[in-house]
């Protein structure tokens, strides 16, 4: 770990000059408030995670999966965090930090809406004005999340440039920030972006592994053999791994294999988001890291059935840990993730986010290589994914999935909405 934002050459601060003072100020605030607990920041943060977020989240044995795999499988339940995903740990941390820094306004970008909803919740809770940039295509696709942000009092600003998705929203947020750095904090949603974001977000998320490490020892009397977490940008992954880094525990970052690992350079499209497995070094969104790009360095469009993993970059620290073989970068495809979604819901009564389902897809395929005891992080709940899963399941032949007859019987494909 370093505090200068370098991870074996990954990381750094590749941002427009106008933003440099802001991220230097942020790096300073990070060290003082977050690392050194100045003004009791850390204490307040932890207390709010309890009071507002519902921490600690449980860690519990999954009885049916344990039997199925003849492996002790434990679930870390970030799906029970307020908002339904681990995202709030970070959003709350950053909004609170912005408050300590005297900032008056919060901005963030969001693709699927998970980070945007977490940020809007945190900003509402801490009474900070909040503006969320979101591509207009994503707004149309993610209506419920847009409404959640709006009800939390956030302004949702449609971004109409380009295809109207995450990348345009990121540019737009950067642009806003470049013009408003003095009073505004930009809440980045994963361990990506320029230093101090990767370290800071990891720090906020590490509460996951802090709890999990204590809980597994209390419940099982020992450390697990392996820890699994899905990886998009990697905040959930790093948060889940952090306290196990110095332990003899195998760490698996499960990426979205999408529909295929091969790339269509001509179209500029990677039909996956497996950046750790298939990307190579580049500079994206403020940091040197692994990136899905073509030979020229143009960023590819990534794809995954799970919107929250659909990103062409990955956190620099995670990239470095993979290069050092401390973390295994693996991936499962859309089909396996969908099957795993249904399996966890049916066997354990926990409906996971599609992102999360990737980790369980890997468990299904490789459980006999993971040792005797495994902790899997349930990074979020799947309520947000129901429509996607209904559609995707209908198109496929997934034997663990429920039949869709009921939906056909009553009201046809569009449902009776």
């Amino acid at each position: 770990m370093s505090t200068d934002g370098q991870f074996d050459g990954y990381g750094g601060q590749y941002v427009p000059e106008a933003l440099m003072p802001a991220i230097e100020e942020l790096a300073d605030a990070y060290e003082r408030y977050v690392l050194a607990n100045e003004d009791g920041f850390r204490d307040e943060f932890r207390q709010r995670l309890v009071d507002f977020g519902g921490r600690p989240t449980p860690l519990a044995r999954a009885d049916q999966l344990s039997a199925r795999y003849d492996t002790e499988v434990y679930l870390k339940r970030e799906d029970l965090l307020h908002g339904g995903a681990h995202k709030l740990n970070n959003a709350l941390g950053q909004v609170l930090l912005a408050k300590y820094m005297g900032k008056k306004r919060i901005i963030a970008e969001t693709g699927a809406g998970q980070h945007g909803t977490a940020t809007a919740m945190a900003a509402s809770h801490l009474d900070m004005p909040c503006e969320i940039y979101m591509g207009e295509t994503d707004i149309a696709r993610q209506r419920p999340n847009v409404f959640r942000m709006r009800t939390n009092g956030a302004t949702v600003t449609p971004v109409t440039t380009g295809r109207g998705t995450l990348k345009e929203a990121i540019s737009e947020t950067m642009r806003d920030w470049a013009g408003t750095v003095e009073n505004t904090h930009y809440v980045i949603g994963s361990i990506v972006g320029p230093h101090p974001f990767p370290s800071m977000v990891r720090e906020f998320q590490s509460v996951i592994s802090e709890e999990a490490r204590e809980q597994i020892q209390a419940e099982a009397g020992r450390l697990p053999d392996a820890v699994l977490a899905c990886a998009g940008g990697g905040s959930n992954t790093m948060g889940t791994f952090q306290q196990f880094r110095d332990d003899p525990v195998d760490l698996y970052a499960v990426e979205a294999g999408g529909s295929s690992l091969s790339v269509d350079e001509a179209a500029g499209v990677a039909p996956n988001s497996a950046t750790l497995s298939t990307g190579d070094e580049g500079v994206l969104h403020g940091a040197r890291t692994k990136v899905l790009q073509d030979g020229d360095g143009q960023i590819l469009e990534s794809h995954s059935v799970s919107a929250g993993l659909d990103y062409a970059g990955v956190g620099p620290e995670l990239a470095a840990m993979v290069d050092r073989d401390r973390v295994d970068a693996v991936n499962v495809d859309d089909d396996a993730a969908l099957a795993a979604f249904h399996r966890l819901a049916r066997e354990e009564g926990v409906i996971p986010a599609l992102e999360t389902a990737h980790a369980f897809g890997y468990l299904e395929q490789h459980h006999d290589e993971l040792g005797e005891m495994v902790v899997v992080n349930v990074s979020g709940r799947g309520d947000k994914d129901l429509e996607t899963v209904i559609e995707a399941t209908r198109k496929r032949d997934i034997d663990v999935g429920p039949t869709m007859e009921l939906f056909r019987e009553v009201g046809g494909a569009g449902g009776g909405r």
Binding site: Q13, E17, A18, M20, G179, V283, D296, G297
Partner: protein
């Protein structure tokens, strides 16, 4: 002519995205702004994630990419350009870094030099990360321009001063690129902070008219950088499906107005 020498008179420095909206039209448009009096041209090499640009230039970049622009086509373009003014390549670091077989900026700089590029502006490359590119530029005799923002101060300013060459790009106000009607009063303060630098000081962000240019120069700038106001003309022409020559004419005229404005400002400039 060296980049710095282009600022002997108050300079007009236009920015255009190469390949916007097509290779051929873009060639013609660059020539038009040179005909209008440009002293240096910033040629944008389109990158898929232009995080420092406003929506005008973002759209220009998108049009250029849709038209098939790549680094290699860009270098062909530069080589083919029939102009005598110095040329600056403006792009993002990933394209510089990825080019060629070997990692790092050297192959890109080598190729750019061969094509006729005189210097670089890389908006997402702050001084802290610029060591390797500075070294490659030195090897091939190219300049490296940095952007000084209204918020750049102290140690950071010093580091930039050490690394900069060609000219310094003074960001007149906070925000990304985009034409504004008002010239910010940040300008004077920004210029004052780098009063004693050895390189010419070109001010950009938000300059649209000859009057703006005049005021900027009279506030002490050695030149004005104008992007969005020109790209807007390209965009309008594209959307209105206008003849290339019509658009080129309009660009040339605006360039002339800006050049004149800059020159007019010279008389009033009081370098402190």
């Amino acid at each position: 002519m060296s980049l710095a020498a282009a600022f002997d008179e108050p300079a007009f420095v236009p920015y255009l995205a190469v390949g916007d909206p097509s290779y051929e039209q873009s060639l013609r448009y660059v020539e038009a702004v040179v005909d209008g009096g440009a002293d240096v041209v910033e040629l944008g090499l389109p990158f898929s994630e232009p995080i420092a640009e406003g929506s005008t230039i973002q759209s220009a970049i998108a049009r250029a990419l849709d038209g098939g622009m790549t680094p290699d086509r860009y270098f062909e373009f530069v080589a083919e350009l029939d102009v005598t003014v110095p040329l600056v390549c403006m792009t993002y670091y990933n394209l510089v870094y990825q080019y060629g077989e070997e990692d790092g900026p050297r192959p890109f700089v080598e190729r750019a030099a061969a094509a006729g590029i005189d210097g670089f502006v890389i908006p997402d490359l702050p001084a802290e990360e610029a060591g390797p590119l500075r070294a490659a530029c030195d090897t091939f005799g190219l300049d490296l321009v940095f952007i000084v923002a209204p918020t750049t101060e102290g140690e950071r300013l010093e580091r930039m001063r050490e690394l900069v060459s060609g000219y310094v790009y003074v960001q007149a106000r906070l925000g990304t690129t985009g034409a504004r009607n008002e010239v910010s009063d940040h300008t004077e303060r920004s210029l004052a902070r780098i009063d004693d630098w050895e390189v010419p000081r070109a001010v950009g962000f938000g300059i649209k008219t000859g009057d703006h240019a005049e005021r900027i120069v009279s506030a002490g700038a050695d030149g004005v950088i104008v992007g969005s106001a020109l790209v807007d003309i390209v965009a309008e022409g594209h959307e209105g499906d206008e003849a290339t020559e019509t658009v080129a004419g309009r660009l040339e005229q605006r360039a002339r107005e800006l050049t004149r404005g800059a020159r007019r400002g010279a008389g009033q400039a009081t370098r402190r």
